[in-house]
Structure formats: structure tokens, C-alpha cells
């Protein structure tokens, strides 16, 4: 039940406008954040996490080279491209699940054989809550960030944790 704030008429839940006075009511049934932290993950956009410029390699790059690059650059996720378009990502988890003890045998194979194709992505101006939700549903730790159809970065679950920790700290201070 939604009570119209203007004419006090009773309307059904989720009504777009008041049956009696046609006043818009949509905003009343929209979810609202109940705490500053909750508000911040809804209001702050993905770009405020400062997505890292992705480490990207061509789909034909040999496995061994990609692994070395990930260790040297301390990243858990590389973006795989073909002609500048993203075709997949390769993460630590892919390495463990698909290469495992055979890593040495597959060293010269192209990375495209082991990558995760068409990964879930997020828009640069989406709320952080979106990223959190996608990570929970899909069990991802990295999500490529898109801007106007191109990959501009990668955010990791660690970036979100940092955002939350900073929120907690500033509240205490």
C-alpha cells in the first residue's frame, strides 16, 4: 500500500501515479539506501575505484609468455584482444583450472585456447553496487570496464574492498 503524500489516497504498491490526483508516486517505491556506506556504493561510480589500465595481449600470444607477464606485472587478470577488440580474459583461476600440471606442455599454445571468452563487463559510469552484484552472482574477481564499447580498465574485488575499508575508516575518524 502506498499513500499519496498529496491527497492521502491509497494506491497499490509500485503504482506509478496516484489514482486520484495523478501525482507521480514512482519515487516512493524505489529502493533507498539506509546507511552512508550503502549510499556510497550506489552513488559512487566504477570510475571512482580507479580501474587499472588493463594488461592486454593478443589472442595468439603463447601461454608461457602470458604467465610470465602476469607474474612480472603482479596482475591476476589479462585482457585478450584481437584487432584491438576484447575477445576474452585470462585469470589466475583459468591458469589453475585449465593449465594446472600441464602448464609446461602447453607453453607454446596460443592463449586463446585457455581464456574465458566473452566475459561479463561493466560500464565505467555504473554504480559500484552493480559491480559488487555481478561479482557475487558470477563468482568473479575481475570485471573488465567498458567505455563507449572499448575496454578501458579492469576492476578487481580488491578495489571494492578498499573502497569499503576507506568508507569504514572515514566514518570512525
Amino acid at each position: 500500500m502506498v499513500i499519496c503524500p498529496l491527497c492521502q489516497a491509497e494506491n497499490i504498491d509500485g503504482a506509478d501515479e496516484c489514482e486520484q490526483c495523478q501525482q507521480p508516486l514512482g519515487y516512493l517505491s524505489r529502493p533507498r539506501a539506509s546507511s552512508p556506506l550503502e549510499r556510497s556504493i550506489l552513488k559512487d561510480r566504477v570510475f571512482s575505484l580507479g580501474p587499472r589500465t588493463p594488461l592486454s595481449v593478443d589472442a595468439a600470444t603463447p601461454v608461457a609468455e602470458v604467465l610470465r607477464l602476469m607474474v612480472d606485472e603482479s596482475v591476476g587478470c589479462v585482457v585478450i584482444t584481437r584487432d584491438d577488440d576484447m575477445v576474452g580474459i585470462f585469470t589466475e583461476r583459468d591458469a589453475l583450472m585449465r593449465l594446472n600440471v600441464d602448464a609446461a606442455d602447453h607453453a607454446e599454445r596460443p592463449i586463446r585456447d585457455f581464456m574465458t571468452g566473452s566475459p561479463e563487463t561493466i560500464e565505467l559510469d555504473a554504480p559500484i553496487a552493480f559491480a559488487l552484484h555481478k561479482m557475487d552472482v558470477g563468482g568473479y574477481r575481475h570485471i573488465p570496464v567498458m567505455n563507449e564499447g572499448k575496454v578501458t580498465g579492469v576492476i578487481s574485488v580488491r578495489d571494492i574492498l578498499r573502497h569499503i575499508t576507506e568508507g569504514l575508516m572515514s566514518r570512525k575518524a
Partner: protein, 154 residues
């Protein structure tokens, strides 16, 4: 209900810790990698007679693969020794802060004698957060700001 209140008052056990998967320090890397894949586990604990001495995660596995380390090497030579741990009943906020500060994605929970009771994973924390922001997160549309390219109807 206030989310901050939850983070600082609820124990980490609420963030869905998983059963610890343990191996002996003398087990080979080959055995450990196979076990991780078989159990679809992202990490395991290395225990000497039941007491936690190290942890081996996906990150360490990547390093082993990139450097082509001999797979018959015992795990104790490549594990991370004396990992950062949590004690039973520590608060969720402590876990979040320890993970964020050290860049860890799993923290073993140990009892007073150093025996592992469980492992708190970052995915458990994410799920905990999502569950505690129910209205705002569950009601999200699939696209952030949908703009219809064409009007509806014929």
C-alpha cells in the same frame, strides 16, 4: 539495520568460511595442483601434524607455472609461510581490513593452538555484503541507465 554496525559486530563466521583443505608440507606441487583442480578450490592450507604452517593459493600456483618449477618439489618450498590469520569470533570488519591491507583473498581462521578451523574467502565477504544491502542490490536493473533506442509499441 545499519551495515557498519553489522561489519563491526558480527563474527567472520557469518561471512561463510569454507572447510579447510589441508596437505602435508612434504606433499609435491603436482599433488597440490591436482587437488586444487579436483576440488575447484582456490587455495589450500599446509599443516604439519594439524598445525597451520603455510598457505598455497592461485597466485602461488601461477608463479610456479610461470617459472616452470619442478613439480616434484615439496610444497613447503613454494608455499607462503606463516600466513596472516584470523581468530575464531573476530569481526567481519577485521577480516575486510586485513584482506584490504595485505591484498589477501583468503584468511585462515585458527584456534589458540594454531589448528585451522576454516578459511574466509573474499567471495564470502562479497556475498555477505550483497546480502546486507538487500533492497539496493537485489533490485538493480540489468543495465545501469537504460535508454530505449526506439519507442515501444508499433
Amino acid at each position: 539495520m545499519d551495515i557498519e554496525l553489522n561489519l563491526t559486530s558480527e563474527p567472520v563466521e557469518q561471512a561463510g568460511p569454507v572447510e579447510p583443505l589441508c596437505v602435508e608440507p612434504t606433499d609435491s606441487i603436482r599433488h597440490v595442483l591436482r587437488l586444487l583442480k579436483e576440488r575447484k578450490a582456490p587455495s589450500l592450507l599446509v599443516c604439519r601434524s594439524g598445525v597451520l604452517v603455510g598457505i598455497f593459493t592461485e597466485r602461488d600456483a601461477l608463479r610456479v607455472m610461470a617459472r616452470s618449477v619442478d613439480l616434484d618439489t615439496p610444497i613447503e618450498q613454494v608455499m607462503v609461510k606463516n600466513p596472516v590469520t584470523l581468530r575464531a569470533g573476530e569481526k567481519v570488519a577485521v577480516a575486510v581490513q586485513k584482506m584490504s591491507a595485505g591484498g589477501y583473498r583468503r584468511l585462515p581462521i585458527v584456534n589458540d593452538s594454531g589448528r585451522p578451523l576454516g578459511v574466509v574467502q573474499v567471495s564470502g565477504i562479497v556475498h555477505y555484503l550483497v546480502e546486507h544491502f538487500p533492497k539496493t542490490i537485489y533490485n538493480l536493473p540489468p543495465v545501469a541507465h537504460p535508454v530505449m533506442q526506439q519507442r515501444e509499441g508499433p
